[in-house]
Symmetry: C2
Subunit: 477 residues, 2 copies
């Protein structure tokens, strides 16, 4: 268990730090254009120099609160002229160090670009500014009978979700940001505005720039407007929990559900640790045993049929009877608890930070992927908890670690290496939905190979020749 770590698995030292000091002329120009919307206050900079990762805070030199496409274009044009980095910022909920200003520069805060620009209910599309959060969007379209399903847990901005190719609980049925972004407005590294995609549901017109930007983590341009697919609210929605004698039994039920093609809308695994934290935090009384939290969408008849199928599969694996959340209020309570698992878990160990793994494997390998990871986690003695979007083969084993303890950081990193390498052996990916950021740059090379990463680097260089767009993330320049 003490095999040497690969070089790339020691990111917490932030050896990537390569500050490029911002010229005074640039700061002066920002202040002239933006006045008080350009801040260099320590508190503001610190808030923009961190995310939910375990990295030390690494603040930008300035933060500009943009309110329009033109604002963003102006910041980037200045940054291009002065070769200064820019880092787009939504709500700061990313998990792999995406937002840290490892090369200094300007944080472009998009939270004030929070208007839902257009809802085309007849076409099931909406166009939003990048700072709109997913909860806000769903609130604003409530009266249309439509909803936007992608739900990574955090109330992230839709720009941030597009940038990390986010997914979450509903992805098993509705896809990820990859499948649900129709078009974008982007400020390029030269400070110019371009548009990608159209509102048509499909297109074969040229290179898929939309999907090149989705998941590019701010390294190719700043997405300022996003056109999204919406879905009719299902006629019927039912949620249920089901407890299992083991995690393996819950996972086997999931695998069979997917293989049978049941169009389940959500299929979440929680282990006993996660349930314990959730019970305390949200005053619930769920049994502290491996559990699937499921949701079914469709017509009344279809929901009933899906539920019966899955219930039969669960029973064969020793699952208990479904406990139904019958009212919208009960459902909301359960999902709110699920979404607060992260913060609930953080409260179970004083002063801890959470490091969350994020592998995703072909569904038939999910049991092996989880079982081995639990064995290793148990052996480590470090507190952990598991939630998983298991219908997609994706799960998070989250360690609660003392960020001031280098030994613990290294131990967790070693466990993460083992998990990632196992996922790659099982033909999976090092990250299902969190992205590469700083933390997984080495894993990306292991997964994609030097040739594919060299191709990514060529694209970056072509689109951002001065390396100003969130530099030092995804891969080394």
């Amino acid at each position: 268990m003490n095999a040497p770590l690969p070089d790339h698995a020691l990111p917490h030292s932030l050896t990537h730090l390569q500050p490029r000091p911002m010229p005074q002329a640039m700061l002066a120009a920002l202040r002239a254009r933006f006045g008080e919307r350009c801040s260099t206050a320590a508190a503001v900079r610190e808030q923009h120099g961190r995310d939910e990762s375990t990295y030390p805070v690494t603040p930008p030199e300035a933060v500009v609160f943009c309110e329009s496409n033109e604002d963003v274009a102006a910041v980037v044009a200045l940054a291009a002229a002065h070769a200064v980095p820019v880092i787009p910022f939504g709500v700061g909920s990313s998990l792999e160090g995406h937002l840290l200003a490892v090369q200094g520069g300007v944080s472009i805060d998009l939270s004030r670009m929070n208007r839902v620009l257009k809802v085309h209910a007849d076409d099931l599309t909406a166009t939003v500014q990048a700072g709109v959060t997913r909860e806000q969007l769903n609130r604003e379209i409530r009266d249309t009978g439509l909803f936007f399903p992608i739900d990574p847990g955090a109330n992230a901005s839709l720009g941030g979700m597009a940038a990390t190719r986010a997914s979450g609980t509903n992805a098993v049925r509705y896809g990820t940001m990859r499948e649900n972004v129709l078009g974008l407005t982007v400020v390029t590294a030269a400070g110019e505005l371009i548009h990608t995609g159209t509102r048509a549901k499909k297109s074969a017109a040229g290179y898929d720039l939309t999907r090149l930007f989705v998941g590019s983590e701010g390294t190719l341009g700043v997405m300022t407007e996003i056109t999204l697919k919406l879905y009719p609210l299902p006629e019927a929605v039912s949620a249920a929990v089901c407890h299992f004698p083991s995690i393996a039994a819950a996972v086997r039920t999931t695998i069979q559900t997917i293989q049978m093609g049941v169009p389940i809308a959500r299929c979440e695994l929680l282990d006993a640790h996660a349930i314990r934290a959730v019970n305390r935090h949200s005053r619930l009384t769920l049994r502290e045993a491996p559990m699937l939290l499921m949701e079914f969408h469709g017509s009344e008849a279809s929901v009933q049929e899906q539920a019966e199928t899955v219930q039969a599969l669960a029973r064969e694996q020793g699952g208990e009877d479904f406990q139904w959340a019958r009212t919208p209020e009960e459902r909301t309570k359960l999902w709110t608890a699920r979404h607060q698992a992260y913060f609930a878990a953080l409260q179970t160990r004083a002063g801890c930070r959470c490091q969350s793994t994020d592998t995703c494997v072909p569904i038939s390998h999910l049991a092996e992927s989880i079982d081995e990871s639990i064995r290793e986690a148990e052996a480590s003695g470090i507190p952990y908890w598991i939630v998983g979007h298991v219908g997609d083969g994706n799960f998070h084993l989250s360690y609660l670690l003392d960020p001031s303890d280098p030994a613990e950081l290294a131990a967790v990193e070693r466990l993460n290496v083992q998990m990632v390498q196992r996922a790659l052996r099982l033909q999976g990916t090092c990250t299902g939905e969190h992205g590469i950021g700083l933390h997984k740059m080495g894993y990306l090379v292991e997964e994609a190979g030097e040739g594919a990463v060299a191709m990514m680097r060529s694209i970056k260089q072509a689109l951002d020749p001065r390396n100003i767009m969130n530099p030092g993330k995804v891969f080394a320049a």
Copy 2:
């Protein structure tokens, strides 16, 4: 109606011809490596210098029949060394001049790379060589209880389908090649092999190279292996036809079906002209009136429920009762007839070629998009027929023209310009599924804007600096 055509709407003169003669040394090297698998016979070259477009045949200088990744890499490495164009070739069913050797060079025939390499039924994935056709794949996986839904009509190669981001009849439910390719093996412009994606259903690992290659029309590299999503064969499948008093009534029924979220699997419009051709060709007796040909997938109960919903919507629009194709044989007969509509129509005018438009618009604009196009087509006096994947907002108005008559070619091009410009005004795309090829390069600029096309050009230049990968397609270098 005689407004001047934009410059880019006169492609049939093939002003793009810029042959780069192949050095003798390259031909000698190809012959040394490939022997009889390298052909310069006129008939072979001509077969590889055309597609289903109305362009004159423009043959490559040589055709190499590749049988492995290494074969493809060897051809491309030689081409890179000699700055000679290469054009990947599947079955030759593309529609916009994609395969024409406008700058000379070598056609890489992939039809012998036709092995299904791996079927992971438990994971709902398959990995195939690029020359496998969609019908072949479905034949070979028949015993697994799974199928690959994407169906552009032609029995195209899966490499060709990925290259043009194909879709077709099932896309309304299962998505297009964009949504159904998980990973690729690609020979880069330097003749190196890279792999993109994994078999995991989702990933947030780095730039989405998979989707950059899907739809790139051979201009960035040669896809040699493709990992695809498969789907469980539905428990129940039902197909029905329904006739309407007008195309508008059929379209309104479609729009409401989509807006209600009915998970219809296929929703095809045929006009009276298309039905007449199909009746003659396939000895059917369908009423020669606007018709929807629909298919429903799901459990028995769900299929029945979907059909009832759509039938009620149809009735409100004056649609007749559904006529059901109850057996698999009846269904196959209907869909075979639909797929042969293209060839059936070609037989209705001696010596004609077919030029098919391919706009796709947000669903609420579909009626306007089709109605106006029909008005213009009727006024032109040129024979035409319509089929449409109307559930996606995509339809094809296909003109049967005399390719030797420049006036008719120009008239059709003028009609196409009007249709495309209307689609763009309606926030749609110039091509839903056929791709840009030679024919739509100007339309791509109109749709995406100079800035976005410049970005595509930068990517092309970064990945293919000698401009050898299917040069002269998608955009001017």
